[in-house]
């Protein structure tokens, strides 16, 4: 039952993704063609709010609702950030969706996106198999 809060938060996130239209293939095309501020405004303002929040959490040593210290693991640079990033970028412009939007689109009744989601699971699986052979 303790996990129901994540269900609710995921639900809210799904609603936001749809209402923001960031899940729309048309919006993604518009963004990559630099023809509207919409997507840049969304990503930019989300990052600004995220940055301020983390800064405040660190500055005031805010704890979780369970009283734990908040820890955020650092990310270490590797070549995958570049190569994987480029590959994901290609896929983002093809499907018009990143992982979150894939889930939201399936929920919105576009069952064809379930095929893309399944394909993304397979892509992740193939990465897992090849991981040790890929440059990192």
């Amino acid at each position: 039952m303790s996990k129901i809060k994540f269900l609710i938060l995921g639900f809210i996130f799904g609603v936001i993704l749809i209402k923001a239209e960031v899940i729309s293939w048309f919006r993604i095309q518009e963004m990559f063609r630099f023809q509207s501020f919409h997507m840049y405004g969304i990503i930019g303002s989300a990052v600004v709010i995220g940055m301020i929040s983390i800064w405040l959490i660190k500055k005031y040593k805010v704890k979780t609702i369970a009283g734990e210290e908040i820890k955020i693991a650092s990310k270490e640079f590797n070549k995958g950030n570049v190569i994987g990033g480029l590959i994901f970028g290609l896929g983002w412009a093809m499907t018009g969706a990143c992982p979150g939007p894939l889930y939201a689109l399936v929920g919105s009744g576009l069952l064809i996106v379930l095929v893309a989601l399944l394909s993304a699971v397979i892509g992740t699986w193939v990465y897992g198999i090849l991981k040790n052979k890929l440059p990192h």
């Binding site: 995921g10 639900f11 936001i16 990559f32 993304a120």
Partner: protein, 186 residues
């Protein structure tokens, strides 16, 4: 009804997305990121003997529950309260897409390309199946997606996330400007 179906402006939805970062941290030290859920699905369903998938995914089950919540949210906002109007993209995008042969610009995605029948055409197969594969393979190889790197990582001033985000954009630009026009002629 209109208020429930109409889209929200960027300055409402963007900050709300940003708030996911502190809320997840406060709720239980969780870092915002969606693509990990794809890995957990692999670990739960088809782990095999691969080291990368043999871990206790149940510890991270919140991420799968969150993803399931997105599906339900998508259903309520995108199906029950579906916006009947086309996405209001710019005039230039509309004409660029027409020029590529996308005539039906209603709905959230171009229905001419994204349907079950087109899966059996080269164009549809590439955009849906290969595109989906790239999303799953690329995000895991990059160590995160738009949420994990571009929002969570940048919020936490992580250099690898900046590199990844720039690469997401380079990949997207290359596809949009140089490859997609050719795929559309298939």
């Amino acid at each position: 009804m209109n208020i429930l179906t109409q889209p929200w402006p960027w300055y409402v939805s963007g900050p709300l997305i940003g708030l996911m970062v502190p809320i997840l941290l406060l709720l239980g030290n969780k870092t915002f990121g969606i693509s990990s859920s794809l890995r957990h699905i692999c670990a739960a369903c088809i782990p095999g003997k691969t080291e990368f998938f043999n871990y206790n995914w149940r510890v991270e089950s919140w991420n799968l529950i969150f993803a399931f919540g997105i599906i339900v949210g998508g259903f309520v906002a995108g199906y029950i309260f579906e916006n009947p109007l086309a996405v209001q993209i710019s005039e230039e995008t509309v004409s660029d897409l027409y020029a590529m042969g996308i005539n039906n610009q209603n709905g959230l995605i171009p229905q001419e390309i994204f349907n079950f029948e087109s899966l059996f055409s080269l164009r549809g197969f590439i955009l849906i199946v290969v595109g989906g594969f790239f999303v799953g393979f690329g995000t895991r190889y990059a160590g995160g997606c738009t949420s994990g790197h571009s929002i969570m990582g940048l919020s936490n001033l992580q250099f690898p996330s900046l590199v990844a985000t720039i690469c997401f954009f380079i990949g997207g630009l290359v596809m949009t400007w140089f490859i997609l026009p050719s795929i559309m002629t298939l």
